[in-house]
Symmetry: C2
Subunit: 364 residues, 2 copies
């Protein structure tokens, strides 16, 4: 088992990474205030992975309520959140009852946000079961639900007590979901870890084949990078924004094609390539760099062509992005592979060049 720390003063917490952790109830029990917990999960994950942690917790005398939600990003809504509240109230969960988020990014965001606001905040633990959640969404305390007019429009920064990442759960991940997680893995190399990007160029095939050692190494490296960024800027007032590399375009792709058509990680992959092309168009990186990024994403099985929604539609979709400041759109761009910066206002012509180059790529 590998252990990392997210250093946030009194809100610091550990990340455990390894095989067979779902049954290691001691990692969770020692942090509970009350011998009661609610495991929030989704139908698919419940079928595959609910029994080990539920059984292990109950064996240690913890009373466990299971709250099973429908699968899918389209359920990251207030209605689903309210179902969690209904169950928590029904089972008389109190301020000391911990929530355990067992699942992917959607479950983590929903359960984390439920924990942030149920009775003005209860403790929670992230137990991510997808690669995307293990390398990115379960770390750092960002929680949210979607609004009909914008992704993650309503949420909170709310840190978990611990993150427990069992790498065995990746064995059952559908190929598209594995690839979607690899998009965020590539992101860490691109924005702040050039050596890791080179490692990915050499080892992407091993990750795509799900070699356990390669996966565990990549997860640890991503978590270490994310933990450093979050420690310096918990509430995204500065450098944490760099973690949104590819996400401004990515959110536009997700919204413009209808949520659920593109997986988040797929949209981020195509979005990162748009951002890379924009960086090249501004003279910051070379065409050869764009080719290297394209090659790694393709080897991961990710889409590299953004849908041709048109400049105006992209602008409209990005205008509602949470990162919009004073009505202007700033992008996270690459100074070089391994170093991202937040741009000033980008010339419309440059944006038009890049978005005009996209071709339709149907993910349905």
């Amino acid at each position: 088992m590998r252990t990392l720390n997210v250093a946030l003063g009194s809100r610091s917490y550990p990340i455990y990474i390894g095989a067979g952790l779902l049954g290691r109830a001691e990692l969770i029990v020692e942090r509970l205030k009350q011998k009661k917990a609610a495991i929030v999960t989704s139908s698919t994950v419940a079928r595959l992975y609910l029994p080990p942690p539920k059984g292990a917790l109950e064996a240690r005398g913890v009373s466990v309520v299971a709250v099973t939600l429908p699968d899918g990003e389209e359920h990251k809504t207030w209605e689903t959140l309210n179902r969690i509240f209904d169950e928590l109230i029904e089972h008389r969960c109190e301020r000391g009852t911990a929530l355990i988020a067992l699942g992917g990014g959607v479950v983590g965001d929903l359960a984390g946000f439920a924990a942030a606001v149920y009775q003005r905040g209860v403790p929670y633990i992230q137990v991510p079961t997808t690669l995307l959640a293990q390398v990115d969404s379960a770390i750092g305390g960002k929680t949210a639900i979607n609004h009909p007019r914008g992704k993650n429009m309503v949420g909170a920064f709310y840190q978990p007590l611990a993150v427990v990442s069992d790498t065995d759960t990746l064995a059952t991940l559908p190929p598209r979901e594995l690839a979607a997680g690899l998009a965020e893995v590539v992101k860490y190399g691109l924005i702040r870890d050039p050596a890791f990007f080179e490692w990915l160029e050499a080892n992407m095939a091993r990750l795509a084949r799900r070699e356990p050692e390669a996966l565990a190494y990549a997860i640890e490296r991503c978590c270490a990078n994310k933990a450093e960024v979050v420690s310096r800027d918990e509430r995204e007032t500065g450098p944490r924004a760099l973690l949104n590399f590819g996400h401004t375009f990515g959110h536009a792709i997700e919204a413009g094609t209808g949520y659920g058509t593109w997986l988040h990680g797929e949209a981020v992959a195509a979005g990162m390539l748009l951002a890379a092309k924009l960086s090249q168009r501004l003279g910051w990186i070379a065409p050869a760099d764009v080719r290297r990024i394209t090659a790694v994403l393709q080897e991961a099985g990710l889409p590299v062509d953004a849908p041709a929604l048109g400049l105006e539609r992209y602008l409209e979709l990005m205008g509602h992005d949470k990162k919009a400041e004073g009505g202007l759109i700033r992008f996270v761009l690459l100074k070089r592979i391994g170093e991202a910066v937040v741009s000033g206002e980008v010339p419309r012509a440059a944006l038009a060049d890049v978005l005009g180059a996209g071709t339709v790529h149907d993910r349905a």
Copy 2:
């Protein structure tokens, strides 16, 4: 103008109390990150008090969006919260756009919670226009909405940038609302300020007549008490719970009679008297103390008889209270006038005695 400080490290903020503050835009403008603000208010308050702050802000170049909500506690729901989000998105409010809560406790709770979670948190300023909000709910960062099965079940601890209390707004407060605010005023005397309680015994008639000097003094004294408590225990893990004196019973009264029948402050008044009687039943305070408390509340125009819902119904209603710990009900009780403590488990017989003594008191 009187100025107090809520000391919370980097989240510290001032409370301004005085006449004519609604038009003093400089108190707000200096704290804005962006020359844009959304004033969240209710229909009645908008009619009476929206023009001065809106005009004063606009005169200083601040773009102002007004979001007017329906009046009443029954609207402290997710649906109303979503209306705020819709308006904020419609007007492209961003992470730097401040919310200004102009109104009573319901507006403050709704706007404060909207600020806590819109785009994972935007700045906000409390501009309370009722006595209850000026002495209690606008201070300390507690925000929430109600759930069909429990009051304030979903919310956040989220501190404002400032509290601006214009005492002129109290002139138009309906008599019942004034009295409801006085219930929380009496609470501060009872739980931690015996000298203030004696002052209230001598001056309650002046407050009930709305003498400006007396009101300003009482508001300042309440805010000073609350600021001290909140500074020591922002997230209610300890002494802040004492501020809930009368509230466990009060919430049961509100829920048991249907929200909106009893005003929150009215329910707290009757609840405080139940708690006082329970304190007497446990031998902590004398019958003469209960009579003093009854007299002050009656002079404020408040109900002193709780509705006769029956022991079982009260227990059921209080079992869902947020303060319930491990399934037991703890009460905030009085050791003496001016000193509250959190009780251990209270014997059922004592509770039956006190609740059996309640008579029906119709507030409809």
